[in-house]
Point group: C2
Chain length 227, copies 2
DNA sequence: CATTTGCAAGAGCAGTGCTCTCGATATGGC
DNA sequence: GCCATATCGAGAGCACTGCTCTTGCAAATG
């Protein structure tokens, strides 16, 4: 390993360290991440951080990508360990919810309102689609197995927009089922977000997991999963 | 009208003016509302604003309450002008979505992630329930009319939590239907939020209204509305 | 050994929320 | 009408933020 590679490795380690501290700050302090505070925690000058991230937004982007990957990982692993498509759906949903409860501010970063003045760069769109692709794969598995009841084809102009989308990502799924899967995905994300963001306070407080499971099954049914 | 009342009226007008400018800033600048910038726009010192709002959070709270009221108003008016429960549901949903598209940052304020370090005070819980109450009333109307198909009763611990909630707000609805209405509400809010927050980019872009209508009908079906 | 490159530190700018003090003005009791 | 009181606006100031620029040091390169 040449010296240049060593330099690059040290740099990568430093970058990871900054992200780690930033995540810790995000978890404890809340969403208004302070680059200076991160630098203080690392015992370095704030200006030194700019050697690794050109701006606070760029650091946030890195955290967003990591968050998409983290929730995607947990959901994929949970789904892989389950049996039937419905069980995979439930496992992935509960895994995502538990990750969100454990990392509320990171969840808010990706599925909450965009950060003030922050425009998501292109680097984030690919990891963002990961969970939706997973859900599509689960539905596709059920569809191939023939357990999805036949549905009326889609009507409406948006159906035409879904067709090329379907061809690219879910070549073996009818557009109608894609639309239903997206809708179910939004439903699950909404259920997680609105529990997390406090819209359930003064309502269900004890058995939130049970209520989420109820919604998760409703979404699964919408996406065509039975059993 | 006594002088004291006049003073109070002037104070109320000033308070409204500050809120109006703050909303304008929210609409143009984004979510990171600057109290100083608002003060500058009003031609007054930043410290003077603190005579009317003890903190930036308090101003935000006022804006949140106004936003809940605004979206509640539009939804209620739209529903009132419609005929059947399903039509009311659709009208309320589309009205909420259009309001959200017209006031994205205000929508993010109430249905997005909570603002950094901001804890919603009790003043906001009552206006927050307004839309959900409207939807509950629509479903209750359909239920009384007998057009809602019978469903299995709820099982699970969260069902017990819904019972007192149901007794308070929807005395004539079975808990199962309440849970379904809440789930449908989350689904609709999620559909609006994730369209607004860009999760639909690179997907459906032309006929977003059509796709929302599709989801809105799915949610209505979940809540028991047919027709 | 000399030079280029990468990195960290510090000062500094413009902006923020918020507090405090100090005058000006208006209100209410006598 | 006069004076005590309450209310309000302005300004200075504190601690903080993101970000830039310059300076100096250390390591890799020739």
């Amino acid at each position: 390993m040449s010296a240049a590679n060593l330099r690059a490795r040290v740099r990568a380690e430093m970058t990871e360290e900054i992200k780690a501290v930033a995540k810790r700050h995000l978890a404890t302090e809340g969403a208004n991440l302070s680059l200076r505070a991160v630098a203080r925690d690392l015992g370095m000058a704030s200006s030194a951080v700019y050697r690794y991230f050109a701006s606070r937004d760029e650091l946030l982007t890195a955290l967003i990508i990591d968050a998409y990957d983290a929730v995607g990982d947990t959901a994929e692993q949970a789904a892989a360990a389950a049996g039937s498509p419905l069980q995979k759906w439930l496992a992935a949903g509960h895994a995502a919810r538990e990750w969100a409860l454990a990392n509320p501010h990171e969840w808010a970063l990706i599925y909450g309102s965009p950060v003030p003045g922050y425009a998501a760069p292109k680097d984030t769109v690919e990891p963002a689609t990961r969970v939706l692709l997973l859900l599509g794969a689960i539905v596709a598995e059920a569809y191939r197995a023939g357990t999805v009841a036949e549905r009326e084809p889609l009507t409406g102009r948006f159906a035409e927009e879904i067709v090329p989308l379907a061809a690219t990502y879910y070549p073996d799924l009818p557009p109608r089922l894609i639309a239903d899967t997206i809708a179910a995905f939004f439903q699950v994300c909404g259920a997680i977000s609105y529990e997390l963001f406090g819209q359930l306070n003064n309502g269900i407080v004890e058995d939130r997991r049970g209520f989420f499971d109820y919604q998760l099954r409703a979404a699964a049914k919408l996406a065509g999963l039975t059993g």
